[in-house]
């Protein structure tokens, strides 16, 4: 997608002045890096052209969704790294190039092609392949910003991230999440970032009808987030809730169909925060977005901590959700919630502070610094 305001008609007497550009580095698996970056990009796109570099397997689902087509996502350009894709098509025995070097070269080319004035790196100060240390010193004119989601202290100490971040980034922002004490001390903290602002949510009753909820029974949403291979884990949870609690409404938000009876309960929709808004109780994992969105909308969350290389879902869940380590634990927590008066706890009004707006202001201040 090319931003509409950079497209000058042939023969036009004048063209619209080109705006400054951002590149948000959102490399990494699952939904988290992409969704958090989109939350910031939506705010920044009001003044800048925003490019997002992502290898999320869900990127096409986002750009093909009706909400992306119809809502205000103009000015945001999703870029998938070509170097990584071409590498994966080659056999490793014939590949002559280091993937980190290829990715660094591709990022540098994007920065030059789009005259990037702000490079905002999500989560990984050194890059997902450790490719940024060789690149960042070459980007002298670009403002370098790090969005420091929580990250494993083992990783940060092993690679001495504290010194690296100090030496290379002009600004570090904690999107309401970083529990890594060393890195957190470098950061300016904001509220959690979410992809919608309060006034942007669709009508809740219409959403429920769209998801096939036409009763007043409690609506439990199972969020099949995370890696694509983890989807069936959530399908089994959905099946079990349906079998155990046939009186309630259960749906599974999933990017792809399962090929089983659970597909009758599947919701194919983006962005997921709308589904959370429509639901009463959420079952999911402990990723940044699930936790942040449930907290913003004041939804009860029962969360399974998923094992991640850098992220620490256990910590996040222990602070903000009800933890489940097994199916029986999840079911018992769910039943307790249902018995505790779910009707009075579900908030239909929306009131939260979106940290993405504060982050945008912090980043913009760099331009005048």
């Amino acid at each position: 997608m090319k931003p509409i305001w950079t497209q000058a008609e042939p023969g036009a007497a004048y063209s619209v002045p080109k705006r400054s550009s951002w590149l948000i580095y959102a490399m990494g698996g699952g939904w988290g890096h992409l969704t958090r970056s989109l939350a910031l990009a939506r705010v920044a796109a009001s003044k800048y052209d925003v490019h997002i570099l992502t290898n999320s397997p869900y990127a096409d689902l986002v750009t093909n969704s009706p909400v992306w087509q119809n809502d205000n996502f103009k000015g945001i350009n999703i870029i998938k790294p070509e170097s990584i894709r071409s590498q994966s098509n080659e056999s490793t025995s014939t590949s002559k190039h280091n993937p980190a070097e290829l990715l660094a070269a591709e990022i540098e080319a994007i920065v030059e092609r789009h005259a990037i004035s702000f490079l905002v790196v999500d989560t990984f100060p050194r890059g997902i392949l450790g490719e940024l240390p060789q690149l960042l010193p070459r980007l002298g004119k670009t403002n370098l910003v790090l969005v420091q989601r929580d990250i494993s202290p083992d990783y940060s100490s092993k690679y001495n991230l504290l010194d690296f971040v100090r030496q290379n980034y002009k600004l570090v922002i904690d999107p309401g999440d970083c529990k890594n004490q060393q890195l957190s001390a470098l950061a300016r903290k904001t509220s959690a970032w979410v992809i919608r602002s309060c006034e942007e949510f669709p009508n809740r009753n219409n959403l429920r009808l769209q998801f096939g909820i036409n009763t007043s029974q409690p609506f439990v949403l199972v969020c099949a987030s995370g890696r694509t291979e983890e989807q069936y884990f959530y399908a089994r949870i959905t099946e079990r809730i349906r079998a155990e609690l046939p009186e309630i409404e259960v749906r599974c938000l999933s990017a792809s169909a399962f090929g089983t009876a659970v597909d009758e309960l599947r919701i194919d929709y983006w962005p997921g925060i709308d589904c959370i808004y429509a639901a009463d109780i959420i079952i999911g994992a402990g990723g940044y977005n699930t936790i942040s969105e449930c907290a913003a909308l004041k939804r009860e969350l029962i969360a399974f901590p998923q094992k991640r290389l850098y992220d620490r879902q256990n910590l996040r869940i222990e602070q903000s959700a009800c933890k489940a380590n097994s199916m029986p634990e999840m079911l018992e927590s769910l039943k307790k919630l249902l018995l505790s008066g779910w009707q009075t706890k579900t908030s239909t009004s929306v009131s939260f502070k979106n940290g993405a707006a504060a982050a945008f202001e912090l980043i913009e201040q760099l331009a005048g610094a």
Binding site: I128, I248, Y310, N325, K335
Partner: protein
């Protein structure tokens, strides 16, 4: 054997949130009484319905532990462990 067990359709009260008459015309394959009579003080009995009492024994049935959580799941939800950093593009 209780009075309820003698007659069909089944008159046991079942359901977690919204108690209702079971109404099954056969006990074969029933997830509540499992084909057998329930004692008078059973949690599924109308007189003393306690979902947690019933569910605890039901949940921790080996059949469910084996089927619901695979070894793969157990490894995933365990605490994070040190592995090779900066090699996996799909890491998070």
């Amino acid at each position: 054997m209780t009075d309820s067990f003698d007659s069909l359709p089944c008159k046991y009260k079942v359901g977690f949130l919204f108690k209702r008459v079971c109404g099954r015309t056969t006990r074969i394959g029933c997830p509540h009484c499992k084909g057998g009579p329930l004692p008078q003080d059973s949690s599924v009995n109308n007189a003393s319905y306690d979902p947690y009492y019933r569910d605890r024994s039901y949940y921790y049935d080996d059949r469910y532990n084996q089927n619901d959580f695979t070894d793969y799941d157990a490894r995933r939800v365990s605490r994070e462990q040190d592995t090779d950093y900066e090699t996996d593009l799909d890491a998070s």
